[in-house]
Symmetry: C2
Subunit: 204 residues, 2 copies
């Protein structure tokens, strides 16, 4: 049976139910852990799922950061240092990745709190996640405040990329399922994927 | 073996290889078909994968529209009418969904060209996709031009939602895998999903 919700129905739900409906409605997302550090060297790790590819030349990725009172640390660290890393999540670490969404104080490193490992590389201020097989670093390009609801659209340019060489296909494509990269749905559910097909460039 | 690409390596690839690497690097996406209509009633259907949940109250969804010369019709229709629909893709229709990315002239409906079915509902100007089990309509709220590369971040407010009632869990969450909603990777690959776990709200 088909269910039909109107805007007025949505407004009748409590905020948790409404958030669960709307967070899942928009579909599977590339849940990733963002690593940052503040100017005093305090590391931070947080899970973000609302991530988009903006373009390949320049190589731009964007993500939605919630309002500052809900999620202050990642954004302020990125503003302070201009540097962040994005790290894929695998089946081995998804419970720890999820735990990074808890509201720890600013002086707690989520790496320590969740038992994950920060890995620093020459040339990148922000820490990578050692447990992650697919990692990339970014340099902040633009923060666009979204006035409609107090969120931020954060745009960065890709600097360095790390991945297992055997997941790459001839055309450059990274078969992330071979690295075990997961996707997420809503705030809470994690999924592995199975490829149905890879299709040629479509022409009329 | 781990592969390491620097920005300078990326710039050495031809544009297709670079696009394939970068489109897949950012992870699995919620490939969806966006339905629109222009002021003369000409329908359009196009696949978009860079889609984010921006917030639940108000209920906002954003997507990245490529530069106007590459992808003009969906954006101009949304500007003309303020109305669009987002429709999930299932295994039955993913080849047709992919075919909608071909560059058809403005006077060709991708519904007709791909053999998919437009479905009009009272109160929504834009067509829904009849074959899609999870559908929602939006009203345009804001178009943010991204000057870094000529793309657009298009933000809409959700108006009406349709989904099979048996996919909804007690907390509101929509188990999209039960509706067969797919995700995509890069420009070309389509995936089904298998849930590993759904975790409780994380606390420190």
């Amino acid at each position: 049976m088909q269910k039909h919700l109107r805007l007025s129905d949505l407004q009748g739900y409590d905020r948790f139910t409404r958030a669960n409906i709307l967070n899942s409605l928009s579909g599977f997302k590339s849940a990733s852990l963002i690593g940052t550090v503040n100017k005093n060297g305090q590391a931070n790790l947080a899970i973000f799922s609302n991530l988009v590819h903006i373009g390949a030349d320049p190589a731009l990725v964007g993500f939605i950061n919630r309002p500052l009172d809900a999620a202050p640390h990642t954004l302020s660290n990125i503003q302070e240092t201009g540097s962040y890393t994005i790290n894929h999540i695998t089946a081995d670490i998804f419970p720890q990745a999820h735990q990074s969404s808890a509201k720890y104080p600013a002086d707690i490193s989520e790496f320590d709190a969740t038992g994950l490992t920060a890995s620093y590389r020459e040339g990148t201020l922000a820490p990578f996640l050692a447990e992650s097989l697919v990692q990339y670093s970014l340099e902040l390009k633009q923060i666009i405040p979204i006035e409609l609801n107090g969120t931020f659209f954060v745009i960065g340019a890709i600097q360095e990329i790390f991945y297992p060489s055997d997941i790459q296909e001839e055309d450059g494509f990274l078969a992330l399922e071979k690295a075990g990269s997961l996707c997420s749905l809503g705030n809470s559910a994690y999924y592995e994927t199975k490829r149905l097909g890879k299709l040629a460039y479509a022409k009329p």
